[in-house]
């Protein structure tokens, strides 16, 4: 195949005049709402309860009439309650952790997968990736959407795809050097780690062939971006997405690196006040809400992401007309993102109660050598006290493994004496996130 120098993967959409985007969104929204109402009983009930009929939605201006859907709804409807098509039309499942152990499962038809991969292809193209490139995907493969999304996007672009998955840094570096990887896709902290490792091994930034990186799935800072760019000799691009909506590629950064363009032909972005649920004008800081427009298996109308950010309609020099969103500036719930994994305090409480501990705990998060550290202090029961250290460390290990099963990542457990966790005015400080000192929005 000949090399095509492309600035856009699908310019007909990516550079569409704003008024045409709105028109397209309106047409698709009317259809999506009707489709959802007819095929998903859970949605029908939500809409009936709010007194909204599909015919009330005539375009994007009527969006505010629709009820919101939350992660709790997704959990309640687990596993099939929000599925809008026959299971035989589905070809894929991805999943993310839920709040009390129940996971959130998202379904995909082939068309859903194709559109998702196109979104990732747009992100790669915006980062200058073509079919001349070698794309090393070291996001995790599996239920997590990171690996599959960028893998599919890389195929759509036609670049040579290295499906490395995460971990095994030695092997990552060997492939990177021997097979001349030009693009790196992973979490920003892993990119930083690879950069540090290369430096330790005596490699200079010019020794690798990398030119760009697509980094997402966890909070990072501009300072981290500069470090990664310097150590790897690349330009680092941010990417945003949620499993519930498809995965990475809901929004992506262009060469301007000033916010991420939302793929508005597939998703409508709104900003609301998380407390009053009132829609706020573009430019306001608030909670990001997404409505899918083309989803067949798992459509979501007005899904509350809990991510706090700001949208901008300002013209972008890259030529894309899609609205831009800032990096998430925080959360409107208590979710933590640790090593790229979503963790809720309620999950930790569930494990503690299941293992016979009172929910007296403290979570301490930090970032050391570009890797998140995750410690949980737990007050032990008086009857658990043993005069032999191994008995106590054994209990810590048992609790650690129960946490790993629930969360997917392993915290370090520290059993403490009863009543030793500080309580201020009777209320314990549950989460100490020291990553704040690095300027990371958590």
């Amino acid at each position: 195949m000949e090399t095509k120098e492309k600035r856009y993967f699908q310019p007909e959409y990516e550079t569409m005049p704003v008024e045409n985007i709105k028109k397209l969104q309106s047409e698709k929204l009317v259809k999506q709402v009707k489709y959802v109402y007819e095929n998903v009983a859970y949605y029908r009930e939500l809409m009936d309860k709010k007194g909204v009929k599909p015919e009330d939605i005539k375009g994007v201006d009527d969006l505010h009439k629709l009820p919101f859907i939350k992660k709790d709804d997704l959990r309640e409807a687990y596993p099939y309650g929000l599925l809008a098509t026959d299971i035989k039309n589905c070809v894929r499942i991805h999943s993310t952790s839920g709040t009390t152990g129940k996971r959130v499962v998202a379904f995909y038809t082939q068309n859903d997968v194709d559109l998702w991969e196109e979104c990732c292809a747009r992100a790669l193209t915006a980062a200058g990736v073509t079919n001349d490139d070698v794309c090393q995907v070291c996001y995790g493969y599996g239920l997590f959407t990171g690996g599959a999304g960028l893998h599919g996007g890389s195929h759509k672009v036609g670049s040579l795809t290295l499906p490395m998955s995460s971990g095994n840094t030695e092997r990552q570096i060997q492939f990177m050097m021997d097979l001349n990887s030009t693009v790196l896709c992973c979490t920003p902290s892993y990119a930083a780690y690879i950069g540090e490792t290369l430096k330790e091994k005596g490699y200079k930034p010019e020794d690798n062939k990398l030119k760009a990186g697509i980094f997402g799935a966890e909070p990072w800072t501009e300072e981290m971006r500069r470090d990664i760019e310097k150590n790897l000799g690349i330009k680092a691009y941010d990417i945003y997405g949620l499993t519930e909506l498809s995965g990475p590629g809901v929004a992506f950064e262009c060469e301007e690196q000033k916010g991420m363009h939302v793929n508005e032909d597939h998703f409508i972005a709104e900003i609301i006040d998380p407390n009053t649920e009132e829609v706020l004008p573009v430019g306001s800081k608030g909670e990001l809400v997404f409505t899918s427009l083309d989803k067949e298996a798992f459509p979501l109308l007005r899904y509350r992401t809990r991510d706090i950010c700001i949208l901008s309609r300002e013209k972008c020099s890259c030529g894309r007309t899609f609205i831009r969103m800032t990096k998430p500036l925080g959360r409107s719930d208590d979710m933590m993102i640790i090593r790229g994994v979503n963790v809720f305090p309620s999950q930790i409480e569930t494990v503690l109660l299941n293992c016979g501990y009172a929910a007296n705990y403290q979570i301490i998060i930090d970032r050391v050598n570009n890797t998140d550290t995750f410690d949980i202090n737990v007050e032990m029961n008086p009857e658990d006290f043993a005069d032999i250290p191994n008995v106590i460390t054994g209990k810590e290990k048992k609790l650690q493994s129960a946490m790993k099963t629930m969360l997917g990542i392993s915290p370090k457990i520290h059993l403490l004496a009863p009543k030793s966790i500080t309580r201020s005015e009777g209320k314990a400080v549950r989460i100490i996130d020291n990553r704040k000192r690095l300027g990371i929005n958590i």
Partner: protein, 143 residues
């Protein structure tokens, strides 16, 4: 027959040992022997004292996390081979020693050894049958 040991959970934080030793001193209790087991995060401070129940109360009111552990105490002559004899007896009966520590009364020319085993009664029975003298609570008070 077993001897009461005070076991204290100590987080690796400054000032913790001060709290413990102060509480015991204020209560007018004598420490006869001690041992410390430590890990990266915490230590377990073990004490043989003249009045274990009073010590527990004093420590708890100072905010310490304490429990009383029953341990086996033996009194042996302060001479070469005495401890080896005790350990060999237990080994012969497959009794595993979790930890042990000793204190010596120079004037009485004997040593007291504290042994932590899984089954105190079984260990004590075997030791007595093999001619080892067990330590009594009174031996600790009138040391």
């Amino acid at each position: 027959m077993a001897v009461k040991q005070i076991s204290i959970f100590v987080e690796n934080k400054e000032g913790k040992l001060v709290t413990i030793t102060d509480a015991i001193a204020t209560a007018g209790i004598d420490i006869r022997a001690m041992s410390v087991a430590d890990t990266q995060d915490f230590g377990i401070f073990r004490l043989i004292v003249t009045d274990p129940d009073k010590a527990k109360e004093a420590l708890e009111s100072s905010g310490c996390f304490v429990s009383i552990t029953q341990v086996v105490g033996v009194s042996i002559p302060d001479e070469p081979g005495s401890l080896a004899k005790v350990v060999k007896i237990l080994a012969r009966y497959n009794i595993n020693i979790e930890y042990m520590y000793a204190f010596i009364a120079v004037a009485k020319k004997n040593a007291s050894v504290v042994l932590r085993v899984a089954d105190n009664e079984a260990a004590e029975k075997i030791l007595v049958e093999n001619g080892i003298t067990l330590l009594q609570e009174s031996d600790i008070v009138n040391f």
